[in-house]
Symmetry: C2
Subunit: 94 residues, 2 copies
């Protein structure tokens, strides 16, 4: 598998308008990527799933969920305390 | 694989106190289930991932994420309109 622009093929889901992420994913596939990743942490995990579902149900019916990984990362709170935050990484292929 | 009490082996993640779900999962494994499922919809999806991570990082280190499925379900809004809601189903094995 030839991966072009592999650095760009990861979309980090945050607080931007919802459709920004859907169109970013479409652009990645349309520019030749065969596999892209949706990544999110904490409360944005639900949003990463929403973006994925809207992408494949409404815009790109040939996109498949290839793999889903969950995990934890250490982050520092504003008070400097170590905390754990959950993560998700959704691999999508076309 | 012998599955006892397969109906009970699904934990629906909602708005109850966080540790309720962690202890429910521990009870399921300790009562002999080899596989349990964490299910959630919409904004509770992030919480299902959090519960899974706390369960396996802090309480049951031998629990593995076996499979994760995402999907969409049709629901009716209060005004009676058809809407889509995202879903997650996390299979955990011990």
């Amino acid at each position: 598998m030839i991966k072009k622009k592999s650095d760009d093929a990861t979309i980090f889901i945050g607080d931007k308008p919802f459709m920004n992420y859907v169109t970013a994913a479409m652009l990645q596939f349309n520019s030749g990527n065969k596999e892209i990743f949706m990544k999110a942490r904490g409360k944005h995990i639900s949003r990463a799933v929403d973006v994925t579902e809207v992408l494949r149900n409404r815009f790109m019916n040939d996109v498949k969920v290839n793999n889903i990984e969950i995990g934890s990362e250490d982050v520092k709170s504003r008070e400097g305390r170590e905390m754990k935050v959950s993560t998700i990484k959704i691999s999508l292929t076309k």
